[in-house]
């Protein structure tokens, strides 16, 4: 098929659960491509010589090559190509912000002057990953003989899983320490089931277990074991403890009953299954839920509220639709499901009754001024324009700071002013020799794929460190 014919093919429409139905369950929203759909979407790829999509991918997945494999019907080869650089394609296919990365650079989208017309790379990635999982086709790679070196990975989120996967394949022994009772970090407690089924996450972890990675749950480094003990028992340490420290607004009323951080709200719903009426973990099922913020976590919270039976779920965001950082797909799904969006509204107080229960909030009307440091137009209050919004549950989804437990336990770690660990850009090594870090503990709250990119860099550097020590020992 020539380029002109390929450009004429319309994007395949992803089949999805009907919005009216899906707000009553927690099952995944998009069903995924059938083989016929995947073939048709794969045929839209122009196989550009300069591969701008690969440039746009933080881990450099060989995108045109795996799409070619789909076109040829060789799914095993396709998933093999992805897994050379991306250990978690079933996750990334679902949660990466493709419209800002690979799909943003796609020439098909550019030809149509619409990123929405780009090849749906994420959906094709998901297709191959799901095919592999559903057909138990995961290939166990040939692992070199044990190097005799031991690596400790702190945290089983996307960064930690990547480090563990890369290093076990190079023959090192890897132990992953996880604070919670389940793996995945934010993939498990944060991202809802309807967007990332936990079965997908647990399958990735099961694969690593098959490769020999040892997972230790309910183990908090800095508490259950000291950092010194871990450094003594392991040849290298990777810290991927994430951005688990929720921000609050600092406005009056945040201690009222019915005010949640998004982390708590989502953890109750996801990790602890509070969406199930029979769960032992309670959650307040508000009738009118106000979510403060405009990122993916805000979308997840509002959509979770609907699934918990809210009659009204509102996203209250201080900038406009254009500045909203949420993925387009999450925004679209939220709108379809009936989430209300209140743009240019800044919460200034959370209101409550005499018994201490939240009753609503006061919002300040904003307008956009000049761009700020983030490049987005700065929201400015319009004097005298405030109003009240009724709500019986308020979810604060305005981001997270790096978790403080490890830095507190290892005072010699150099930190930046946001509480993140300072690392070498290329090796991810911290100020403490032999201790590496990556993901949100370095980046602040970022994305799964950036965390994985840092994990990959760190694994590379750890391998270099471990093998160079071996050579020195031989001398």
């Amino acid at each position: 098929m020539n380029a002109a014919a390929r450009l004429k093919l319309p994007p395949v429409v992803m089949p999805e659960q009907d919005p009216a139905e899906r707000v009553h369950n927690v099952r995944e929203v998009p069903f995924g491509f059938t083989p016929a759909m995947a073939l048709q979407e794969a045929q839209r790829c122009l196989h550009c010589a300069n591969q701008p999509c690969v440039e746009g991918c933080p881990v450099g997945v060989r995108i045109p090559d795996f799409i070619q494999a789909i076109e040829s019907g060789d799914y095993l080869a396709g998933i093999g190509i992805i897994k050379q650089t991306n250990l978690l394609p079933a996750v990334c296919g679902r949660v990466c912000p493709q419209e800002d990365q690979c799909q943003e650079s796609c020439m098909v989208g550019k030809a149509h002057r619409d990123v929405g017309q780009a090849v749906q790379i994420g959906q094709l990635e998901r297709f191959l990953a799901d095919w592999e999982r559903e057909n138990h086709a995961a290939v166990i790679p040939q692992i070199p003989p044990p190097s005799g070196k031991r690596v400790a990975v702190i945290g089983s989120g996307p960064a930690g899983l990547t480090v563990a996967g890369d290093l076990i394949k190079l023959g090192h022994a890897v132990t992953v320490f996880e604070a919670l009772h389940m793996p995945g970090g934010v993939l498990g407690y944060g991202i809802p089931e309807f967007r990332l089924p936990k079965e997908v996450v647990y399958a990735e972890v099961a694969y690593l277990t098959r490769l020999g990675v040892d997972f230790q749950y309910n183990t908090i480094i800095g508490k259950s074991l000291t950092v010194d003990e871990v450094r003594r028992d392991y040849d290298a340490v990777f810290i991927g403890s994430g951005a688990g420290l929720p921000n609050f607004l600092g406005v009056p009323g945040e201690s009222l009953l019915g005010v949640y951080s998004a982390n708590e709200y989502l953890t109750r719903a996801n990790l602890m299954h509070a969406y199930d009426e029979n769960s032992d973990t309670p959650i307040l099922r508000g009738q009118s839920v106000a979510v403060l913020g405009g990122g993916n976590v805000a979308m997840d919270s509002a959509r979770t509220a609907l699934r918990l039976g809210a009659l009204r779920a509102m996203v209250i965001y201080r900038r406009s639709e254009e500045e909203m950082p949420a993925r387009k797909e999450e925004y679209r799904h939220a709108v379809q499901e009936g989430v209300e969006f209140h743009f240019l509204q800044n919460p200034v107080e959370i209101l409550g009754n005499r018994e201490g229960w939240v009753t609503g909030l006061t919002v300040q009307k904003m307008q956009l001024g000049e761009p700020d440091a983030s490049g987005r137009r700065r929201p400015l209050p319009i004097a005298g324009q405030t109003s009240n919004v009724p709500a019986d549950v308020v979810v604060v989804a305005i981001g997270n700071n790096p978790n403080p437990l490890i830095p507190a336990a290892l005072p010699s770690l150099q930190m930046n002013r946001h509480g993140g660990i300072i690392t070498d850009e290329d090796t991810m090594e911290t100020s403490v020799p032999g201790v590496f870090a990556g993901g949100d503990i370095v980046l602040g709250a970022a994305t799964v794929i950036l965390a994985m990119g840092q994990g990959r860099k760190a694994a590379h550097a750890i391998h270099a460190l471990l093998t160079s020590t071996t050579e020195t020992a031989k001398d």
Partner: protein
């Protein structure tokens, strides 16, 4: 899985478990707590570590059955297991030689108070202990506390044992009798901590209180355990659990403990077990 080695009824619906948790046993210090899940579908609840035996790799947990989870736990016998135990969490108690230390325990709060009193005694403080309970049957660890105290006073609300009255009455008569106190530590039901704290503030005695708010992960991630201390938001799990009692916003903290009262009652009723005696949030330490 954490196997239960011993089970002992200390009082009405109050049970002491000796349970395997080797890493916690070797790393815990007085004042710290664990989070447990009784079963693989259970909720996560915080429990203070009452004692530990590092050689045996065991810790001691004292639980009062007040809701579904604690009732489910009460059914466990030696050889059964608690599905998950994670810890030790929180900052250890600041133990030093203060001089005379007043240790005030209310109900099940005596359990976490014991290792602190022991630590204070070992740091060469004069330890004066006041234990309060609603009734004699709910008084626990009297002998253990006596062993680490220079003086011990017991009060019961109904006068069934010790002096009839509240711990605050006993503290006031101690001070009226000329007792000098350099530092106080109070652990118990939130209302008891609030009124003890109001009294020690009036008496000018610096006071630490150990809080037990609603919590999920215990690592700072969820923010559910936030309390207001000195006008600032603090997370009990990583900044506490002990705070300057005179700076704690007790009314807000007590209100937040009631967040799920309706849901908890529902769960306990569904569970429908005889061990349910009431829902004094904060007593399930």
């Amino acid at each position: 899985m954490n196997t239960i080695r011993r089970r002992e009824e200390l009082g009405r619906n109050v049970i002491r478990y000796i349970v395997d948790a080797p890493l916690v046993a070797t790393h815990r210090k007085p004042g710290q707590f664990v989070i447990i899940r009784v079963t693989d579908h259970g909720e996560r609840i915080p429990l203070t570590i009452a004692d530990a035996n590092p050689e045996m790799g065991t810790i001691s947990l004292i639980v009062q059955s007040v809701g579904k989870t604690t009732c489910e736990m009460a059914m466990l016998r030696p050889g059964n297991a608690i599905h998950d135990i994670v810890g030790p969490l929180g900052r250890p108690t600041h133990i030093q030689r203060f001089g005379a230390v007043l240790c005030v325990g209310g109900g099940i709060g005596t359990a976490p108070l014991y290792p602190i009193a022991k630590g204070m005694k070992e740091a060469h403080n004069r330890v004066i202990t006041v234990l309060g309970a609603r009734t004699h049957g709910l008084l626990i660890l009297e002998d253990d506390m006596r062993n680490v105290s220079d003086e011990l006073i017991v009060t019961t609300d109904d006068g069934s044992y010790g002096t009839k009255g509240l711990v605050t009455d006993a503290i006031r008569s101690l001070v009226n009798g000329g007792a000098h106190i350099d530092q106080a530590v109070v652990i118990g039901p939130p209302l008891m901590m609030k009124f003890t704290s109001l009294l020690t503030k009036e008496l000018g005695v610096p006071t630490m209180a150990s809080l037990n708010p609603i919590m999920i992960d215990g690592t700072g991630m969820c923010g559910g355990c936030r309390v207001t201390v000195g006008g600032e938001m603090k997370f009990t799990c990583v900044d506490g659990p002990e705070f300057d009692a005179h700076e704690v916003d007790w009314d807000s903290m007590i209100r937040r403990l009631g967040t799920y009262r309706t849901a908890e009652q529902g769960a306990a009723e569904r569970y429908d077990h005889e061990c349910r005696i009431g829902l004094d949030a904060g007593e399930a330490r």
